[in-house]
Symmetry: C2
Subunit: 333 residues, 2 copies
């Protein structure tokens, strides 16, 4: 997903509140990422899963279920499912993007090969489906199966849309809903469904996850053009070099004159990049206020995420989810 | 899976008996392989799905359900699910094997690129899970999710085992159960489960699919070394050039003297292949009766498939499934 999860304080508070459940999720993940027959599988999965991502997505599932006083244990399965889907998509993304680094470490496709990343990703997808069947809840199955399809569809759409200057903000939103927000919203929604929440609360959880995911991705787009000074474990200009039409660029292209348009066409569509092009791109983004406009969008989506929470019962976790939203956008505020 | 489905007469009789159901399966496949947002998806899936595979696997599901007088309609969903899983694995296999031809046509990874094949494969996997959720039957969900995990595990195992002379017939069987037989046995088993068959009939259907799948793969291995004179749409020696340790080679390696072992090590393990090596490999296979021994194994598995059928009720479809088994091995008899 190309998303950096450098969200510190509020996520730490969530992690502390949910530590018993997260331990259970981590134990289940370790158990299910093994393989009786193929030792390559735990090698690759351990490299990625033990690399210490923040586990934001499974935590959203646990938070939703706990906030609604779910007394059972299947939120553990659902949270592990969400992390498995996320990990599988990371493996395949790194193949598709030909990435060499993830979370500051070499990618699996670099350490092993593309074949291992493709097939171990498939294994994790299949394991995620095994996990999600276990609670025996058809509605959560449906939500997670639908999210998987939306993710894959968003990734394919990005393949063709990312290097096409005709891509507008509507297409961008479809891509982002697929590649990032679909798993956020499924994570929160299944937490509510397994807790037996009424329809309007389930909808509020979906809306929260959807808006948070979109804000999260816009922030990631901004950080890639130096939207913050903090260390983010990813180099400035990665998206530029990968010719990805992210939100700041889409906004700058929309305001480009003929000469600027020719520049974007050369570097993004034709992929002909030369020394100084990244600096020139940054100048164009600044000239048209594209960073500020994208930042305003991120804040707007964060606001929508927080309003969605108002439908949910008052609970310390609800406040943490609200703070988490502020924190996500504070990285570019 | 690298399996050629050139099974003519008995499959045609099955297809004719099940033609109304197969039409429904094909309509459902076409409907579900589409995408509202990403036009690349139907382009790629149409290329593969419309290429005219024999649809053997979905037909096994329909056959099992119909033989057991299933009155409902969900065997259509399950059969389409099976074909989607199969198609997704073909897309990923062709990336992993760097294949350039499939069913006599250029592969999707060649026509588009590896990225499209990986991501569209993921989309088809996700669509298969959406489809399999719809019947609302947890047992069929479990069987198909387990089969998906077994398939991926078999593929990963093949990655490491295929070019390692230490791979013996036990490991070979694990790989084949994964990459081929797991989907055959799941296809027949879910047909029985959805029909509400008693446990011993469901087990018999599993055993039939498992043994048929293994016989099928061994025959495919044999054909790759020229086990038959008929046109098979695949070149003789493909497995050799791809350095795959298939059953005839495993048998020849087991009987190899030091010099022969050095040859196999060079061409399979080291991948150093020269002019005349394929001919020399064929000589070694003949010297140790490896083709005949593999053929005997195929016949043995075909026999097991046919005995499994005896537990099932007498029915014209049961006879067709028996004839189908004979036909599969007749290609190398």
């Amino acid at each position: 997903m190309g998303v950096n999860e450098n969200v510190l304080k509020p996520l730490d508070r969530l992690a502390s509140t949910l530590s018993a459940e997260m331990d259970a999720v981590n134990a289940l993940i370790r158990k299910r990422m093994s393989s009786r027959h193929a030792p390559r599988i735990p090698e690759v999965t351990a490299h990625l899963i033990e690399a210490g991502g923040k586990r934001l997505r499974p935590m959203l599932t646990l938070a939703a279920a706990k906030m609604l006083d779910y007394p059972g244990e299947y939120h553990i399965h659902l949270a592990a499912t969400v992390e498995f889907i996320h990990t599988a998509t990371l493996l395949h993304d790194d193949v598709v993007d030909e990435s060499r680094q993830r979370r500051g470490r070499p990618t699996a496709n670099l350490l092993w090969d593309n074949k291992s990343s493709v097939l171990v990703g498939d294994y994790l997808f299949a394991r995620s489906f095994q996990l999600m069947v276990e609670p025996g809840n058809l509605r959560t199955l449906e939500i997670l199966a639908n999210a998987s399809a939306t993710i894959a569809e968003g990734e394919v759409l990005q393949l063709t849309a990312a290097q096409d200057l005709a891509t507008d903000e509507n297409v961008y939103l479809q891509v982002v809903r697929g590649k990032t927000a679909a798993l956020f919203s499924a994570a929160t929604e299944v937490g509510g469904v397994i807790a037996g929440a009424p329809a309007e609360q389930v909808q509020a959880l979906f809306d929260y996850g959807d808006a948070l995911g979109i804000a999260f991705q816009i922030v990631d787009d901004l950080l890639d053009y130096g939207g913050a000074t903090e260390t983010i474990g990813k180099n400035i200009g990665d998206d530029f070099r990968e010719r990805k039409l992210t939100l700041p660029v889409i906004k700058a292209v929309a305001k480009a004159d003929a000469e600027e348009r020719a520049f974007w066409s050369r570097v993004i569509e034709a992929g002909d990049q030369r020394d100084g092009d990244l600096e020139h791109a940054l100048t164009l983004l600044a000239r048209h206020g594209a960073m500020e406009a994208a930042r305003a969008d991120a804040l707007d989506w964060a606001g929508r995420a927080k309003s969605a929470l108002s439908t949910l019962p008052k609970h310390p976790i609800r406040e943490m989810l609200s703070d988490l939203t502020d924190f996500v956008v504070s990285r570019v505020a």
